[in-house]
């Protein structure tokens, strides 16, 4: 599905990461693999440090911390929040929605449109599309888009496929109308028939959590995880990304009558360095134009990795002037989406510790 928007812009961006940093080297002993094999993988995938919550920290805790920071710094006013979109796969509760929790905890006005979206690695794109659509409504001037996940709490520490790369984080993106009519092009695709490639099998109504679903099982590759834990078909997801993403980006650029050279930065979801470099190779994009350093510094925080890539790598650039950015997210669903937009100048762009 293709979208074209105009008179829309991102005006501010804040990323929040837990202060608790773990290192792959320290955690290698948890995995049932020879150290030499793990070290080789560290080099290839870019595993190094990751930030995960310490204790029972929830999505709304990270989100409210960030929002309070913006209020305290005068970067956002409570009364200006006309709509609140929360994109998460790790909600505080089944019910109420996490957006309700955040609205209540922050004492935001009652005249606000709140919405939860269950999305993951494409969640920043999905959230932006939703925010742009909401701005069709004249009574909405400012949309607060929160992407947040604390999926380390649903990942087995004995799963070398997932645990070293998982990261917890939140981002707050302010979306508003713009005087600039420059179009923003986007596309979005979904294939739910491949939904089992990334899943947490137990804990919903289909398979409620029980003592049985908490039992660790060997996946045949020496990774131990329970049905309550996140599981990823690494090969399947890798192949999905390599097959689907390059043509999606080519289609997007073609529709926008732009070339790869017109794009200053390709800001893609950050699953691991290897996957991103293979994507860059497939599209003939220089590595310098496609940051791939979020997993090694913070971990993969699903829908938050694109804002993290911006705040970590391009803060001054997006504050000072702006860039032609091609964004792409891909993952759980399976979902893949991309967007071509002018990003910046922003009024704020920061990355803070929780």
């Amino acid at each position: 599905m293709n979208f074209t928007f105009s008179h829309r812009k991102i005006t501010g961006l804040l990323a929040i990461v837990p202060a608790n940093e773990r290192s792959f080297t320290d955690e290698m002993a948890n995995f049932n693999f020879p150290i030499a094999r793990s070290l080789k993988l560290k080099m290839v995938m870019g595993y190094d440090k990751h930030r995960i919550v310490d204790g029972p920290v929830c999505a709304s805790d990270l989100a409210c911390f960030g929002m309070e920071y913006l209020f305290d710094k005068g970067l956002l006013s409570r009364d200006d929040c006309d709509a609140l979109i929360v994109v998460t796969q790790s909600p505080d509760y089944f019910m109420p929605p996490t957006s309700s929790v955040i609205q209540g905890r922050l004492r935001l006005k009652q005249d606000i449109f709140c919405l939860d979206i269950n999305q993951g690695c494409a969640g920043f794109l999905v959230g932006l599309i939703e925010a742009f659509l909401l701005l069709h409504e004249p009574s909405i001037q400012k949309v607060v888009l929160i992407n947040v996940d604390v999926l380390s709490r649903k990942t087995s520490s004995k799963d070398r496929n997932s645990y070293p790369l998982i990261g917890d984080a939140a981002s707050i993106t302010i979306v508003e109308r713009s005087d600039n009519s420059r179009p923003i092009h986007a596309n979005f695709k979904m294939d739910g028939s491949r939904r089992d490639a990334l899943t947490i099998p137990a804990g919903g109504f289909r398979l409620p959590s029980s003592p049985e679903t908490a039992v660790l099982e060997d996946d045949g590759e020496n990774n131990l995880r329970a049905k309550d834990h996140l599981r990823m078909d690494g090969s399947g997801v890798f192949n999905f990304v390599q097959v689907e993403v390059p043509p999606m980006v080519r289609d997007l650029l073609q529709r926008a009558q732009a070339t790869f050279e017109d794009v200053d930065y390709f800001l893609f979801h950050q699953p691991n360095r290897f996957m991103l470099q293979k994507l860059a190779d497939a599209m003939g994009v220089p590595y310098a134009k496609m940051p791939s350093n979020i997993v090694e510094n913070y971990g993969n925080s699903s829908g938050v990795t694109i804002p993290m890539a911006i705040a970590h790598n391009l803060r001054q650039v997006v504050l000072d002037g702006g860039i032609n950015a091609c964004l792409a997210g891909f993952g759980v669903g399976l979902t893949w989406a991309s967007m071509l937009m002018r990003l910046g100048p922003l009024s704020f762009c920061e990355l803070i510790d929780f």
């Binding site: 094999r37 080789k40 993988l41 080099m43 290839v44 995938m45 070398r160 496929n161 045949g220 590759e221 020496n222 690494g234 090969s235 890798f238 192949n239 990304v241 390599q242 097959v243 290897f274 996957m275 293979k278 994507l279 190779d281 497939a282």
Partner: protein
């Protein structure tokens, strides 16, 4: 330049890779070993194996890996 067999032995020294026709099915290579191997093949042979070619069938045995590498060294 190392041979494919030498690169495989560096990743999984405990196995004789000539003894299997199904390296993945026989548990001699897991999905992350394949990623490591691709990285080593790229570096060792000066090639760039496309992501769409990183499929289990191309890593089934020494012969299939050899065929894959030849595809890129011939380019």
């Amino acid at each position: 330049m190392k041979t494919i067999e030498e690169l495989l032995r560096e990743i999984r020294p405990e196995f004789d890779f000539t003894a299997s026709n199904d390296l993945i099915g026989d548990g001699m290579l897991d999905s992350y070993d394949v990623v490591t191997l691709v990285s080593e093949l790229d570096r060792n042979f000066g090639i760039c194996i496309a992501g769409v070619d990183i499929l289990p069938e191309h890593f089934q045995n020494l012969a299939s890996i050899q065929t894959l590498v030849r595809k890129y060294t011939a380019l």
